[in-house]
Every structure is written in structure tokens, then in C-alpha cells.
């Protein structure tokens, strides 16, 4: 059995990619610092997972051929396995060369993370010549598995992946699962399946086997669209009844959730909420109106500082010590005004200049809050401390009890989502859509583009200001360092990864990114990532832009673009609505994002 040149080149390419990713993961220090966290006891640590995940993927990709319409796919067979194995082997060899170099020469002077411990980890605690065998062999096996994946029937393959995903999720999110088990009085089970924060291997196997028989359908956007279709095909009366029922269910769920989660997880979720509010606001500016605002954090800062000055007794110059409830509308108003002030000059600029100028404004505002000049008012680097929480009846809601703050976060998120949704589906939303698609024509069709853009800026500013007000009450203090450019960038990543222009997408983005990886100053569920969070954010941003610019859950219009219009037509002609037939998933079609 020989390989064609094309296959050989592809194999080489993917083995080099996989090898370099592994070397990078090791050299940048991820491998070593993640090794402390076991995820499946006692066999798999997070470090090894981060190191090796690329290999089976590369093995799979190396023999993957895109399905073309009208062309018989070439037969699958041993060649897939062989190519996978070769890919893994190549990657393993690259890693082994790295290990030898790292062992021979002391590179720590330059590469701080290449330590003897890293070498030991990469050789599986064995001495060098023998250990290298494992360094090469394990990637080879993983690559083989990746290649062999093609031989499985579609359905079985999908089920395997799903089961594997679930096992990893349950293992990685040990904190959440154990906490929930504790809250529902199943401590015993939790203690049984987790050891040292890792899933016991037998529990992993059991879970895997339990999930395997569940039929997996195509995941992703198709699924979302199908559910949507089903929702819209039922008659209105039923729909209202359904929505009432689901609203009640959601409400009950939201009320119970903080109690179920306990304070640690509530804290994480409250942070998710804060970023989600800002994400929804930025989504209006970027996703709907099409303006890339890189200084969005400025409005967050303005909201937080307004509340701080108005409520704190330690506000240096002016301390009216108002109630949070009175300070909130003022904060929203001040944010809106700053939206007008920043928005008015930048709105007529070209898109990329707008991005840089808003970035400039964001930095100016932060530096001013930090400066000695304004420190008599805003406290400079020391910030403003002692912000009382939110008075509510006899109690005070503040960050000390994350559960109660979480309720406020929920309320704010619901309001923000409602604002986004209702604006999107209104006259102004259509105008944003139009000017994003073609500004000249929108103007010629009577849309006052300056006004519409300014509206978007203001609404975005108000939402961020609200998030800021909540943030100040939650933290009890504000410092300029909470409002770095990084915050703007991370909100942007949340919006882009989730899916620009789509509320559900932004929500998913916030939960996944802020909840798991963590925000700029707040840890997520995986506190281990803290050091590498921004590296991962950067990589995600690049990856999404290159591969899936429409985001994980694309906006409906964008989805429609990629899928069958004919199906719609036929359905209408037949006077009966069929669910849209599944088509190749959108990731295979290149989407044109409309920004």
C-alpha cells in the first residue's frame, strides 16, 4: 500500500502542525502548570489533555476529504489508519526531538518553562532513552485512533465523540457537579466518583458506556434551526401557552439555581451575568449596527464610578451617600451622556478608524480615573472603597452573598436580553441591519444613519453602565485597574465566539468563556487557566475569524444565507411546512460575516 504524493504531503503537513502545537504547549508552560490538575483519576491530567488533544484531530484531518456533491467518496480502508498512524508518528518524533534538546541543553535562561520536570512529564517519568519510546508511541496510537475514526459508521462515530465529550465535561467541571450533588444530598455519590478533583476511572468508563447508546444527531446550527422551525410551526394559541409554561419553568429554575449552586458557583455565574450584559450591549453596537467599538469598557467604568461616587461614604470630594436605587438611574443617565459624547465624533469615521479611536477613548478615560489630577474626585489608583451594597428591605445585597447578587444579575440579564430582542425586532433594528449592509443605500432610503448609529452607541452605553452599577455594588469598591482595555477585548471575544448579532449566541459565549475560562480579573470554573486565559482568548479569536466568523450560534439571517431557500419555497407551495432538510453543516461553507 503506497501513499499518493497528495496524501503524503497532507500527512506531513498535519504531523508538523500537531508536533508544533505539542511543542508550543510544552514550551509555553501549559503542560507543566496544568499537570497538577488530574481529570480522570489516576490516568489523565489536564496537562496531558492539553498536550495530546491535537494528535487524534490531526490524524483525523490528515485523511479527511471534504464531501463533494456528485463525486463518489473514495473508499475508506486501511490507508486511513495508516495515514493517521504516520501523522501521529511524525508528531511524536517532533516532540521527541524537542525532549532531547530540552534534556541536553539547559534552555531555561531563555525559555523559562522548559524545565527538567517538563522533560520528566514528557517522557512519562521514565529515563531518557526508554521514555522517548513512550513520547513517540503515544502520539502514534492517538493518531491511529484519529485515522481509524473514518472507518466507523457515521452514527457510531458521532456517538463515541458525544460520550467522550460528556465524560470530559463531567470530569473537568468537577466543581459544579460535586456541588450540585452535595446540594441535592447526594454527597456520597460525589465523594465516590471524584478523587482529588478528578473523575475516578471506573466512573468515567461507566458514564461513557451509559451515554454511548444515546442516539446522537447532528449537533450545531442545524439542531438550533430545527427547534426553531418546530416552535414556529405550531399554532399561535399553543405557542402562547407553551411560552407561558416555559417562562414559568425558567423563572422557577432561575429562582432555585443560586441555592443549588452555592456561593462559589454563584459568584462565577454572577460574573458571567455581568459580562453577558455587556456582551449584549456590545452586540448591539458591533453585531447589529456594525461598529467595532474597542473602548466599550469606558461605559462600564463610567457606570461603576458614578455609583461609587454617589453611594460610597469614602468618595473623596463629593459623597452624597445616596441609596444604590437612586444612584442607578443617575449612572444610566451619565453612561448615556458619555455614549453621546464619545459617539458623536466617531460615528462618521471609517470602520477601522472608529475601532482605534474608541480604543483611545477607553484608555483616556481609564488613565484619567487613575491620574493624580482627578484623584481628589475619583481616588486615583486607590479607587473608591466602601460602596454599600443594594439596600433591599431590611437587608443589603452585596458581593458578600453571591447568591443574592446573582438574582440581580439574572434580572439585569433578562432586561438586557429583552432590550436587545425588542430593538432588534423593531424599526430601529431594521435600520441598523440596513446600514450595516449598505450604508449609502440605507441613507438614500431615508434612514438617518448618524442618528441610528448614535442610538446604538447610547443603548450600548446604557447597558454597560447598568453592568457597571451592578459591578460596583457587587465588589464594594472600584479601581481603575478593573477597566483595562482587556475588558473590552474580552467582551468582543465573547460576542464573536458566541455569534455576532444573536442573543443566544452571546449568552453561550459568555457562559463558555467567562464561566469556564474566566474574565479579565475574575476566575472561571477552571482557575487553572488563569495564567493562559489571554493566550487562549487570542487563539480563539484568530481561530473563529479564520474558520467560523459567524460564531458558534450564528444569527438567523446569517444562517438562512447558508441554507436551502428551495426547501422553504417547496414547503410553502405544498402548503405544509416540513422541517428544513439537513444540509452540510455551515462550518463547511464559508460564511461572509457582515461587519
Amino acid at each position: 500500500m503506497t501513499l499518493t504524493t497528495r496524501e503524503a504531503r497532507k500527512t506531513l503537513r498535519w504531523s508538523v502542525i500537531a508536533g508544533l502545537v505539542m511543542v508550543f504547549t510544552s514550551a509555553v508552560g501549559m503542560m507543566e502548570s496544568f499537570d497538577d490538575r488530574l481529570i480522570i483519576y489516576p490516568v489523565l491530567s489536564l496537562g496531558y489533555l492539553m498536550l495530546f488533544w491535537i494528535v487524534p484531530l490531526a490524524g483525523f484531518q490528515a485523511t479527511h476529504l471534504p464531501r463533494l456533491e456528485g463525486i463518489e467518496p473514495p473508499g475508506k480502508g486501511l490507508s486511513n489508519v495508516l495515514i493517521g498512524a504516520l501523522t501521529g508518528l511524525g508528531a511524536g518524533v517532533i516532540l521527541a526531538v524537542f525532549v532531547v534538546v530540552a534534556d541536553r541543553f539547559d534552555l531555561r535562561e531563555v525559555f523559562v518553562s522548559i524545565s527538567p520536570r517538563l522533560v520528566r512529564l514528557l517522557t512519562f517519568e521514565d529515563t531518557l532513552p526508554g521514555g522517548l519510546l513512550a513520547t513517540v508511541l503515544i502520539p502514534t496510537l492517538l493518531g491511529t485512533a484519529g485515522g481509524a475514526f473514518h472507518l466507523l459508521r457515521d452514527n457510531l462515530g458521532r456517538r463515541l465523540v458525544l460520550a467522550l465529550e460528556w465524560v470530559l465535561v463531567v470530569a473537568i467541571l468537577e466543581g459544579v457537579v460535586a456541588q450540585i450533588l452535595r446540594q441535592i444530598r447526594l454527597d456520597a455519590l460525589g465523594e465516590r466518583i471524584y478523587t482529588q478533583r478528578a473523575l475516578e476511572w471506573f466512573a468515567a468508563v461507566a458514564l461513557f458506556l451509559a451515554i454511548l447508546p444515546i442516539p446522537a444527531s447532528r449537533t450545531g446550527t442545524n439542531q438550533v434551526e430545527r427547534i426553531r422551525q418546530r416552535l414556529f410551526s405550531i399554532d399561535p394559541a399553543q405557542r402562547i401557552r407553551n411560552s407561558v409554561v416555559s417562562a414559568v419553568v425558567i423563572l422557577v429554575f432561575l429562582i432555585l439555581l443560586p441555592q443549588l449552586l452555592g456561593s462559589l458557583l454563584s459568584e462565577v455565574l454572577a460574573n458571567v451575568g455581568l459580562f453577558l450584559i455587556m456582551g449584549l450591549g456590545l452586540n448591539i453596537v458591533v453585531g447589529l449596527a456594525g461598529m467595532l467599538d474597542l473602548g466599550y469598557v469606558a461605559f462600564f467604568a463610567v457606570g461603576a464610578y458614578t455609583v461609587a461616587v454617589l453611594t460610597s461614604s469614602l468618595s473623596p470630594r463629593f459623597a452624597p451617600e445616596l441609596s444604590w436605587w437612586l444612584a442607578l438611574p443617575v449612572a444610566l443617565l451619565v453612561s448615556a451622556l458619555s455614549g453621546v459624547m464619545i459617539g458623536t465624533p466617531v460615528i462618521r469615521m471609517r470602520g477601522d478608524y472608529l475601532a482605534i479611536v474608541t480604543l483611545g477613548f477607553g484608555e483616556i478615560i481609564r488613565i484619567l480615573f487613575l491620574s493624580d489630577w482627578l484623584s481628589p474626585i475619583f481616588g486615583g489608583a486607590q479607587g473608591i472603597l466602601d460602596i454599600p451594597g443594594i439596600p433591599l428591605g431590611v437587608t443589603r445585597v452585596s458581593g458578600i452573598s453571591p447568591e443574592s447578587i446573582l438574582y440581580f444579575a439574572f434580572a439585569f440579564v433578562l432586561i438586557a436580553a429583552w432590550v436587545s430582542w425588542s430593538l432588534q425586532h423593531s424599526r430601529i433594528g431594521r435600520a441598523w441591519n440596513a446600514l450595516r449592509e449598505d450604508e449609502t443605500v440605507a441613507a438614500a432610503m431615508g434612514v438617518n444613519t448618524v442618528r441610528a448609529k448614535l442610538d446604538a452607541f447610547i443603548v450600548g452605553a446604557i447597558l454597560a453602565g447598568g453592568a457597571g452599577a451592578l459591578f460596583a455594588a457587587k465588589l464594594g469598591s472600584v479601581f481603575p485597574s478593573s477597566f483595562e482595555l482587556l475588558v473590552s477585548i474580552i467582551i468582543l471575544v465573547v460576542v464573536i465566539v458566541g455569534g455576532m448579532g444573536n442573543i443566544v449566541g452571546v449568552a453561550v459565549g459568555a457562559v463558555v468563556l467567562i464561566g469556564i475560562l474566566g474574565g479579565p480579573n475574575v476566575p472561571g470554573l477552571m482557575a487553572e487557566f488563569a495564567e493562559f486565559k489571554l493566550l487562549i482568548y487570542g487563539a480563539l479569536l484568530i481561530f473563529m475569524m479564520l474558520r467560523r466568523p459567524e460564531g458558534l450560534i450564528p444569527a438567523r439571517a446569517r444562517y438562512r444565507e447558508l441554507h436551502a431557500d428551495e426547501a422553504d419555497q417547496d414547503a410553502w407551495l405544498d402548503k405544509s411546512i416540513h422541517p428544513i432538510q439537513s444540509r452540510p453543516s455551515s462550518s463547511e461553507t464559508t460564511a461572509e460575516p457582515d461587519c
Binding site: W418, V419, S422, L423, S426, R427, I428, G429, R430, A431, N433, A434, E437, D438, T440, V441, A442, A443, A444, M445, G446, V447, N448, T449, V450, D455, I458, V459, A557, R558, R560, E561, D565, D568, Q569, A571, W572, L573, D594
Partner: protein, 260 residues
């Protein structure tokens, strides 16, 4: 008094003189064609009228008010709508949304009312949708039914042209500017469009200015024809009159017509 008066309009890009003192008038309820060889300044004229270009000199008066210095959206609100030579729809919005968005300047609900979903806002939304459907029905069965919810880019070329006209109509104009409405259409569709232009005036009471290269259509629809060349008006009159003018023949053929 004329509905639209163009007075001594000058427009230049760098050294290139696109309009060099154009004068003409359009009366209420009239169909006027603007013709001329390529580069004569016809589209520049449209862009100047709709505020996309700023003229250097001269005046544009619409319904007794000068349009100089107004934003494009204000001009649309004043009652002038247009289509584009190279069909510019909002391709990812649906057919219905394309027409609904054009009613922007005739409606009022701002963000505040949208968020509160006030009854007046809901009434307005329903009204916008009804008007949009009514306008689309003007084009027969082509843009209705399942097509309402299709993205505009999925339409056929001729339907896109129709949708663009529907969108222009939705701004509720008094004057509509059509930039080469039949370019790229087959004879059947061309004939239909010519009838449609008549219907715009006869049924909707609109005044129409058409830039067109298809002389058949020009002959069929125009009450009056204005000929531009090198940014100035070289002839004006009925189709037959201008077709017989020496300057026009010269402009099109590039040489003086020799008298026989």
C-alpha cells in the same frame, strides 16, 4: 410651478467635470427621461439630487424648497426616492424587511417605545408590514407569499430590480428616480417594466425621472426627454424632437451629421 428644478448645477471630482451647468425642470405628474452617452453625467445627476454628492455650484429645488446641504435621508423624507444602476438591495435582509426598512422616514417609534412595546409602536409595526405587503402586491404575484421571508440575495435579477422599485415606493415619494430600470432584462420583462412606469404615475400619482439607455423604453414612457452630454444639457423635448436634433446625433455618433 415645477416639482423639481435643477439650476446651473456644477459637480466635479478633482479635475473631472461631471456636471457643467445642468438646467432643467420636471413638472408634477410627468415622466421625464434623461439620456446621453456613457459618462454624460446622468448618474452623477441622480447622486447630486439625492444628496450622495455635494454639487459645487447651482441649486436643486424640490417642491419650492432648496435641497442643497441636506442629508440623503432628509432628501428622501422630503419626497424623492431612487433606485440604483447596479441594484443595491440589502442582500441578507428578507424581501419584506427590505420594503419595511424603507418606511423608516415615515414612521417614528424610537428605541424607547420599541423596548416598552407600547401600543402605538405595535400599531405602527403592523401598519408598516401591511403597507409593505401592499406595495409588493403592486408587482403581481412575484414578490408575495413565501417570497416575503426570503433573503433578497436569493431573488432572480429581474425580481431584484422589482424589489428595488418596491423599496423606493415604500418611502412614499412624490418623485421617483429610476436609474436604468431595464438594464439586463429580457424583452418581455422590459415591456412589463415600461407599463409599470406608467402605472407608477397613473395609479400612484408619482412623478418619474428615468435614466435609460434602451431607446424603445424611452420612446414608450417619456413625456419629455432631456439629453445630457459632457455634463451639460444639449437637447430637450419629446422623444421624436430630440431624436432629430443634430447635437444629439452627434453626441451619440461622435461626428456631425451630414445633411443629405
Amino acid at each position: 410651478m415645477a416639482l423639481l428644478e435643477i439650476r446651473d448645477l456644477h459637480l466635479s471630482f478633482g479635475g473631472l467635470q461631471a456636471l457643467a451647468g445642468v438646467d432643467f425642470e420636471v413638472n408634477e405628474n410627468e415622466i421625464v427621461s434623461v439620456i446621453g452617452p456613457n459618462g454624460a453625467g446622468k448618474t452623477s445627476l441622480f447622486n447630486a439630487i439625492t444628496g450622495l454628492y455635494r454639487p459645487d455650484q447651482g441649486d436643486i429645488v424640490f417642491g419650492g424648497h432648496s435641497l442643497m446641504g441636506l442629508e440623503p435621508s432628509e432628501i428622501t423624507r422630503a419626497g424623492i426616492a431612487r433606485t440604483f444602476q447596479n441594484v443595491r438591495l440589502f442582500p441578507n435582509m428578507t424581501v419584506l424587511e427590505n420594503v419595511m426598512v424603507a418606511q423608516h422616514c415615515r414612521t417614528h417609534s424610537g428605541p424607547f417605545r420599541a423596548v416598552l412595546r407600547t401600543p402605538s409602536m405595535r400599531r405602527e409595526e403592523a401598519h408598516i408590514e401591511a403597507v409593505a405587503k401592499e406595495i409588493l402586491a403592486f408587482f403581481g404575484s412575484r414578490l408575495v407569499g413565501y417570497r416575503f421571508d426570503q433573503p433578497a440575495h436569493s431573488l432572480s435579477y429581474a425580481n431584484r430590480r422589482r424589489l428595488e422599485m418596491a423599496r423606493a415606493m415604500a418611502t412614499q415619494p412624490r418623485l421617483i428616480l429610476l436609474d436604468e430600470p431595464v438594464a439586463g432584462m429580457n424583452p418581455n420583462e422590459t415591456g412589463e417594466l415600461a407599463r409599470l412606469i406608467h402605472r407608477l404615475r397613473d395609479h400612484l400619482g408619482l412623478t418619474v425621472v428615468v435614466v435609460e439607455h434602451d431607446m424603445g423604453v424611452v420612446r414608450e414612457v417619456s413625456d419629455r426627454v432631456v439629453v445630457l452630454d459632457h455634463g451639460i444639457r444639449i437637447a430637450e423635448g419629446t422623444f421624436e424632437e430630440v431624436a432629430a436634433t443634430d447635437e444629439v446625433i452627434e453626441a451619440y455618433l461622435g461626428q456631425p451629421a451630414t445633411p443629405t
